[in-house]
Symmetry: C2
Subunit: 402 residues, 2 copies
């Protein structure tokens, strides 16, 4: 979903796709997609996981992923993957590089499910994979350990009315801006504003939209917004050479290898204007978006007429997290994120032995930190298994001596 990653501006699709494909093909990995964990019995080393697989209404065992159904489906829906800036059909893959690359039917928007007629996909499918009668399936898997890696979501724009969120079409969030920057996105990588498709000549970026805001939003810092905003401003200036980028910030939190230098580059080479201050109001004014704020360094009020406003909304835990915590017997912190056994010293352990947590599920984290945590969680599982294996071997040996 991201275009390029800070501070190296690597293409994230090029990095991720080979890995997800490899996971999909790995002989010793069984992948349950479109599924949720609904139960976990037993103990570390010998859990039984109950997994509910949602009905896709497509038999993936037959489907070849040819894509014909998706190109002919008559029902068009705003695409979640594109931050609603692009379209998908009612039968669709969850992302362009989905693994496996096979579609599901969105029951709510499917004409057949809504009106009882259509069946275009069923008629066209060359292998007869469409199955409107498919039911959710529940499977059980013996597993030794569980790693929770449910990530984050952004605070919905509609919960940021003071910034015009949800009301002004040219106020978008950071993930939407990623899609505008992406060569495979709805604008093929051209920065165009949603309302009229014009290339915006002045873009205002607002950090901490709902973060560090105990009164109206979340008290915590969402950690990665400072850096992605710097990246957004820099990439915008690369795309629109005569464009002006203005960033409102409280503190610039560029703490990581090469991060400080990256922000300096945005300021010096790309002349991104950083204004320290909180924005008080964003509203529509003709075909522009007015931003009212205070520059706390000069102490003056600032009024900017922008063509596009990009918010960096607070990072929230995934909505599935509360249910998952109940299933796993874990606790959710005041901030809504999973609680680690010890955030300092056992950052990927949870209070339940054999259940680990990695990445933003336990709080906002950037990519390098998430990668390190993923490896760390794998190490914790390996160390658990090696102990467990030894115990089993000892057990076997003891039995043999009887």
């Amino acid at each position: 979903q991201l275009s390029e990653t800070f501070p190296t501006l690597d293409c994230s699709q090029c990095i991720l796709t080979p890995r997800t494909v490899e996971v999909g093909h790995h002989p010793r990995i069984r992948l349950h997609t479109y599924s949720e964990l609904t139960g976990l019995q037993g103990e570390a080393g010998a859990f039984t996981a109950t997994i509910r697989r949602r009905a896709a209404y497509v038999r993936w065992d037959l489907c070849t992923g040819c894509g014909l159904c998706q190109s002919k489906c008559p029902s068009r829906v705003p695409a979640e993957f594109e931050g609603l800036l692009g379209e998908r059909r009612a039968i669709y893959t969850l992302s362009p590089q989905a693994v496996p690359n096979k579609p599901v039917i969105d029951r709510e928007h499917c004409r057949y499910f809504a009106l009882g007629r259509c069946r275009v996909c069923e008629r066209l499918c060359p292998v007869g994979a469409i199955d409107y009668e498919q039911q959710d399936q529940v499977v059980e898997e013996p597993v030794g350990a569980v790693i929770v890696a449910t990530g984050y979501q952004l605070l919905p724009l509609a919960r940021l009315p003071e910034y015009g969120g949800g009301a002004v079409p040219d106020v978008i969030d950071g993930l939407q801006f990623e899609r505008l920057l992406s060569a495979s996105g709805p604008t093929a990588g051209m920065v165009r504003r949603p309302s009229d498709g014009r290339v915006p000549k002045r873009v205002v970026f607002i950090q901490c939209a709902g973060s560090r805001d105990p009164e109206r939003g979340q008290p915590y810092c969402s950690k990665f917004c400072c850096m992605y905003t710097a990246k957004h401003a820099l990439l915008y200036r690369h795309r629109v050479r005569d464009g002006q980028a203005i960033v409102f910030y409280i503190d610039i939190r560029a703490a990581g290898k090469g991060y400080e230098e990256f922000v300096q580059r945005a300021m010096d080479e790309e002349r991104v204007l950083y204004l320290r201050g909180k924005v008080s109001k964003v509203f529509r004014d003709g075909d522009q978006v007015m931003v009212w704020g205070t520059d706390t360094l000069s102490g003056r009020n600032v009024e900017v007429a922008a063509d596009l406003v990009v918010l960096a909304p607070a990072a929230l835990p995934d909505p599935s997290q509360r249910d998952l915590a109940r299933v796993l017997g874990l606790t959710i912190g005041e901030d809504g994120f999973m609680e680690e056994r010890d955030p300092q010293l056992a950052p990927v352990d949870t209070p339940r032995p054999g259940v680990f947590v990695a990445g933003a599920a336990a709080g906002p984290k950037d990519i390098p930190e998430t990668v390190a945590q993923a490896s760390a969680a794998a190490a914790r599982v390996l160390s658990l298994f090696s102990r467990w294996e030894r115990e089993v071997q000892v057990q076997v040996q003891a039995d043999g001596c009887r």
Copy 2:
């Protein structure tokens, strides 16, 4: 060396000591202390490491760690572990919880080595462990992988003359302040200033001393100073209830679980005064330390007469790092830290297979990130070994079929 850790204020000694002791006793860990790696031949899975063990002038195979020599040695030296605020003897353990807890003789300060006479420790040692003739030893170890975890050091105070570093006795660095806060430190946990032992009633903390300063210092952000400064200010206020704490900062980088809330607590509950601005000059004025700076929020110059100034100097790589990089065939980045194979996607790998890096050796990192990286590096080693083991097994099998 740290007193309590942010944001939970856990006692770091209580956390670390059981672990280092466990490592010291583990049947499958061979610990080389007081040693450096001087060569690495071979390849991943089958390296030969050459290790030079410095002469301790004490036979650790005989020494019982009774400590008699250390209490009777007549040569007193400022203790590095105490940030030179306390004393040690010429025969000493590198830290109070050293593993193994056995002493070394500091040749430079030992009277026998300097003047040819004394031998007090030799005379007193109940087991005859003192050996003035001991030589450096070189040993070779077969190892499968190497993890570089050389940490960081602070920019020396003497390189911060504009802040009075090295010239004004009541200008100290963050690690020295840790020792003043520590119950086992030179002041038994009372905050007393070095010059006259008085309890300081107004303490100024200066962040980014040499960090984020491409002209005079390091261009990068040292990442953990914002949080330890908030902790210092808060703990100072706990210790000195009528004391005033003032922090000069550029940005408050409190990005981590519970970090933002911790800084808010320092500001709100402990009334720590945060001034956004750069300090231009620090100098001695009678028995006080004058701090001149600018409050960039009000645009006014600020002049504070402080009793004690605590700098947060830039974090530098360990001085051993350049030699180590040469030995390991690794590259050092422009910032002086080890270069990872890919700072985003392979943050604990290095370009050399079988050699990994964890923690601040590759750039400043806080405790949770370092713990996660340590586990991640362990996972990378395990995954390497499991592959290697399989290959060896395959090899053995193939040999057997001949």
